[in-house]
Symmetry: C2
Subunit: 441 residues, 2 copies
């Protein structure tokens, strides 16, 4: 043991980590998400954790969240390190990747990407400085079929069902409907209205009305129309009629309504309430141009978005002069996981992935115990061999504390039978390592 002063092993605020039994559940979640994406033919990519700062700040708006890297040694000989930073989302790296490897990809390019991202923001509930995002995007040259606007929320719906999340809704809207509606009203800067309506959640209709009137000089009657639109909700074609019933007309509005109707129709066979058209959803980001998504927990409406995205016309515009429209969605894995954990809604797993602990009855039987463990592993089970001959009660307690469901007893003497104990039921029976199968505890 050292006598030098101890360094306190403390967590760093905003950088979560889990105990093994919680990590076990997170891994299951990651498996469900990955297989949900692959089920629809999305391929995996990963990008480096860093990008050049020029790439990260190409859009100019998020530079305050970026963690830049610097070598700890100040006399570092390579100044290039001072120009890289950790990615703050997976969209920018995906755009850069697509542009960089354009000639080697097959389009439509359907990729998923499950990685950590970093944001240097103040840590608070639902906000982390390091967290895992799970993104899917389809991107294509010049044109992206509307089909994908419906496929993506369907995939997310299947995954969230597979995860057994508490009731959620994927709210859907279409930026063309909003923009076309505001244009139809004769408003000159529809994007400014979208940005204002996007704040509805936080500042309410009065706050939005104030921005529209005082900031943008929009008339009271037009504001009423904008807020009437934002109040509409629906799950089928009826919502389209309600929007039309507001009496506003424009070419873009018609186009948006057709798209929205297509998406609602395509998703019509999902359980009621899982996808809802919500005309107040705007998504702040300016690059969305059509369908937008915002998933929320029904019971925690203020917790923020758990699964969001939308359609964009030109994600890679900062990198290459090609038109590459796409549609994408993202699940905030850490945000969802941490919330359920905090609410006590996640049942921790066992502390070990083992199906079986093989007991070492006494030193002379070591080789036999080892051969038994090997035979069970060969048949696909996860098997831990206890690490020394010891009292059986001690070995049983170890299995029990680690949540290993079965304890195997190789014969105490040559020629006797093997036995296996189910720790949940307490039942102990003779068993043959060549044929025995674990049953649900």
């Amino acid at each position: 043991m050292t006598d030098s002063p101890l360094v306190r092993p403390a967590p760093v605020s905003g950088f979560p980590e889990w105990l093994p039994e919680v990590r076990m559940i997170e891994q299951k979640w990651l498996d469900v998400i990955r297989s949900g994406f692959e089920k629809y033919g999305f391929c995996s990519i990963e990008t480096p954790s860093v990008e050049p700062l020029s790439v990260l700040t190409a859009k100019g708006e998020t530079s305050n969240e970026v963690y830049a890297l610097r070598r700890l040694q100040e006399d570092a000989d390579d100044s290039s390190d001072s120009r890289i930073g950790l990615h703050f989302d997976l969209t920018v790296p995906f755009a850069r990747y697509t542009a960089q490897h354009f000639n080697e990809l097959v389009f439509p390019f359907k990729r998923y990407q499950i990685q950590r991202v970093w944001r240097g923001e103040r840590a608070q509930e639902g906000r982390f400085r390091e967290f895992t995002q799970c993104d899917i995007d389809v991107i294509n040259v010049d044109h992206i079929p509307l089909y994908f606007d419906a496929e993506l929320p369907r995939i997310m719906h299947e995954i969230m069902t597979g995860l057994g999340l508490p009731t959620w809704t994927i709210n859907i809207n279409n930026r063309k409907v909003l923009q076309g509606f505001y244009e139809g009203l004769g408003i000159g800067d529809p994007l400014a209205v979208i940005r204002a309506v996007d704040k509805l959640d936080k500042i309410g209709p009065e706050g939005v009305g104030k921005i529209l009137s005082e900031g943008l000089g929009i008339s009271a009657q037009e504001i009423d129309s904008c807020l009437a639109l934002a109040r509409l909700r629906g799950t089928d074609a009826a919502i389209i009629d309600e929007i039309k019933g507001l009496g506003v007309k424009s070419e873009l509005l018609t186009e948006g309504l057709d798209e929205l109707a297509y998406v609602l129709d395509s998703l019509g066979n999902l359980p009621p309430g899982s996808v809802v058209a919500d005309l107040s959803i705007a998504r702040g980001l300016d690059y969305y141009t059509g369908t937008v998504y915002e998933g929320k927990f029904v019971d925690w409406p203020n917790y923020g978005s758990i699964c969001s995205g939308g359609r964009y016309e030109n994600l890679t515009g900062s990198f290459i002069r090609r038109s590459l429209p796409g549609v994408g969605m993202s699940i905030g894995l850490t945000r969802i996981f941490a919330k359920l954990l905090a609410e006590g809604l996640l049942e921790a797993g066992p502390k070990s992935p083992s199906d079986v602990l093989v007991v070492i009855p006494r030193d002379e039987r070591w080789k036999d115990a080892e051969a038994t463990a090997a035979a069970l592993r060969q048949r696909g089970m996860n098997v831990e061999l206890y690490h020394q001959a010891d009292k059986v009660t001690k070995q049983l307690r170890y299995a029990s504390r680690k949540g290993i469901p079965f304890v195997w007893f190789p014969p105490f003497e040559e020629g006797k039978e093997h036995e296996v104990k189910n720790l949940a039921s307490g039942e102990q029976t003779t068993a043959d390592p060549a044929t025995w199968l674990p049953t649900a505890g």
Copy 2:
């Protein structure tokens, strides 16, 4: 399209990324490694990518490799960010994790950890600034059974076999043998000799001899003995006799030889050559105290270690005043993967995880094609629905370019039969979505 200047989407030196067809193989590797670890009951943990700089530099020796983080905005309000850095290995975070969660872990604690690590060093062959390490360690209170010294290389052997790597050897030694031998020779600073012998690979016996003689004042006869020991290789108990034959004696040497004999004996049923006692292996790091491992490709002896580790007495000494000895090994996934890729020894996978592409014969058959895809997915297959009605040749070409092995043709008219084409064999047959199974192409 934007008219603003383009940002060149360039790779950052030392930060590798792969195309989807290569990533597909990397994912398979990760699955093999994870399941190899879990097969022996190791649980997964992940730690944050960052640690406080006080934790990262607790040992004081690697500070020049650490990437520290800083918020890009200089007026960042939270100065704590300036005291964190990216981890440069998984050992330090594991030690901190074990100390921090000491009361919540069950010992012996067997964990694996597969994560990216970062080192701000000059990029060169086999050296990356960001790479994935796969670590297993067993750590216990006060005493760690010798059993694990043999279990760990067995697990690594099984995994490297599962990955189909080109011939490798896991070289094994025991620091007690080295230290006990030097002590038996009467050398006052055996650790200094170990550090010198560790350079044998790079500077040869003459270079090592020079350090021992000029730097440490060791006599020519003792140097001969040290170098004679370092020349010994063997795969079974015979090597123990050869070492004893050098005529040196000490208590520590005897203890080390017993341990080495146990490990060699336990691994005696592995294929010849996969584990070799190599008395020149020292592992530079001072914290190793017993068995040490160093895996190498036989055909690329200078490529560096692909899988290494050892036994340590007190990993967490910087954090808590408990004795927590352990034994650990690490596979350098990125280092191995990148090497095989560069040597042309990795066969790329398909560009898509899909088993089947379902064709949309014409717009009117869309719903039927969608139902077919859903039925196949329900039965566990990865199925992509083509995104629009189009010429069949175009849809076939898409499947072929993405490496999707089967193309499914829903009936062109209601009531006709489904057909499926195997793109590898060209064979096309009728098929029922409720019963058909893909066969190896």
